[in-house]
């Protein structure tokens, strides 16, 4: 466990909430190969839907059992109601030995005993969580360097954020609406501009982003980037 703990420590210190710096996690490219073992039941990515298992977007640090209308096992629902979150340690333990971690789970997978496989797999899943997912959605949509360089006013961002937190939880949890805490500035700003220009689909977000100025988007980006449950 030495290597894993070290790596987990490294990332957990850099991501209090949902930001995942995949490069520090392991090798996501190799993780993509490992993921083939999961892919017959779980989808991940922009078009992911429920299959035998729930989609795995934004799984890092998500509240367990959070995909709406997915028929989870009683065991998982119980664990979720007891507060289970898929932080890195929990994910690692579950993937290593599903039935050991959660007896009576419906996930019939014998587990990944190889530590390096697990680290790389989690690194791959992390690329579909938080800001990294946004970056994929917005592929081909870019904003100018000047816009990205804008310094956000964090106090103004805090006030503006109250419009966001009616739907997006300030804890970063995702129960059907993505967490927006801890995103890298570029991903956050790009996503908001994509909504504003109607290059992203959701009509609620198009409306909200539609009346935000460049400075207001910058203010929100800086506020949510560093938001943790402590402040």
């Amino acid at each position: 466990m030495k290597k894993l703990s070290f790596l987990l420590l490294l990332i957990s210190s850099s991501l209090i909430s949902t930001t995942v710096m995949s490069s520090e996690l392991g090798d996501p490219e190799r993780g993509k190969q490992v993921y083939k073992k999961c892919a017959s039941c779980h989808m991940v990515g922009v078009k992911a839907k429920k299959r035998v298992g729930p989609p795995l977007n934004n799984i890092i640090n998500a509240k367990a059992g959070g995909v709406a209308n997915f028929k989870y096992s009683k065991a998982l629902k119980k664990a979720a109601s007891d507060g289970l979150h898929w932080d890195l340690d929990a994910l690692d333990a579950f993937i290593e030995n599903p039935k050991g971690f959660l007896p009576k789970t419906k996930m019939s997978f014998r587990g990944l005993k190889d530590q390096a496989d697990r680290i790389d797999l989690i690194a791959y899943l992390a690329t579909f969580s938080g800001g990294e997912l946004a970056a994929k959605v917005d592929e081909g949509f870019t904003v100018s360097k000047d816009i990205l360089a804008l310094e956000g006013d964090i106090e103004y961002g805090e006030y503006l954020s109250s419009e966001c937190t009616t739907c997006h939880q300030s804890s970063g949890d995702n129960d059907g609406i993505p967490g927006i805490v801890g995103w890298e500035t570029e991903a956050f700003v790009t996503a908001m501009h994509a909504y504003r220009e109607k290059q992203r689909e959701n009509p609620v977000m198009q409306l909200v982003a539609g009346r935000l100025s460049n400075e207001e988007i910058a203010a929100l980006a800086v506020y949510f980037k560093d938001l943790t449950e402590d402040n």
Binding site: C167, Q169, D175
Partner: protein, 421 residues
Amino acid sequence: MALNRRTFLGVAGAASVTLASPMVLAGGHSKPRVVVVGGGAGGATAARYIAKDSKGEIDVTLIEPSRMYYTCFFSNLYLGGFKEIDDIGHSYGSLAAGGVNVVHDWAIGVDRDAKTVSLAGGGSVPYDKLILSPGIDFVDGAVQGWDVSAQNAMPHAYKAGSQSELLKAQLMAMPAGGTFAMIAPPNPYRCPPGPYERVSMVAHYLKNNNPTAKIIVADPKPKFSKMALFQEGWADHYDGMIDWVGEEFGGANVSVDPNAMTVTIDGEETKVDVCNVIPAMKAGRIAELAGVTEGNWAPVNAADMSTKADGDIYVLGDASQQGDMPKSGFSANSQAKVCANAVRGALTGSKVFPAKFSNTCWSLITTDNGVKVGATYEATAEKIAKVDGFISKTGETDDVRKATYEESEGWYSGITADMFG
């Protein structure tokens, strides 16, 4: 200032700390006090934000009689069998832990000169700024034959909790092929799509459990929120089950008899098994007692939700008359944050940012089939004015409808976390 017990203790307390920290008395008065009446989407949010953002500089007291708050939003999903009653119940414990002084009592009067709120349990609470978020009460005599004493025979279920459970029990006890009636309210009222989402959820339940049952809706309005979307959904999923009688066919000419369990629509009497009466509404009574209402609602200034009648009293949510926003939990939550920012600024000199409002209402038609309507708003000198809006389209794919429903689940977690912490 009236030297009641509380202020006396407050002054004495301040004096006793003078030696240790003279700065406390710099302004010559104790901490500013905000009292919030009503712990729903408006009041809970306002109390939480002021307590959270003032970081102890403001005393916040929330007066709310209920120990548990059952959200009206998603209470229709409980009727439809998509939620358990506990799923929509929230305690005030986390607000208390977050620094809000939660008082479970009824506010029964406001003395605007003394700036105190009196409580049913005795005593009064002083305020510098008073935020009223009392939701709705019903207009007496709005539905002929019905008053609140008939709410057990004919529930309104428009304040969630025991009334929702009662209506659900009556729905489940309906005889095979029985009739469920709804008397829909006139505008303006809490949650414009609410009655029609409820019709959908009742139909969903009946389709699976009592498929020959019928639903009659007597409606005083010629049209309603998301009408095309609901009617499409009813035709697609509950064909032949729902009879909507609008204004044109006498839907406003209604009386009920709670003893005989009959409903008379435009002269035609029908025996029914369940009758959900949703009467015309007005601001929760404390707004009227405070003298800040005109007619049924409390007119407010859009910039900060302060009342036209009294600059130190604010009214949020359903009870306010603000302009273009619908009466919804989302709206109340949105208004609360604008108000909290303004109140905090007025009391502590913190920066006040321009008002910004938004609203989205999701409704569930059947399993995995959600629709939504939403808009953004701004404060003008006259009112809260709509800026831009959208609505789900008829004929959307199953995937879109499912995504909309899943989004509503996410929103529920979001807004309840935003209200209660």
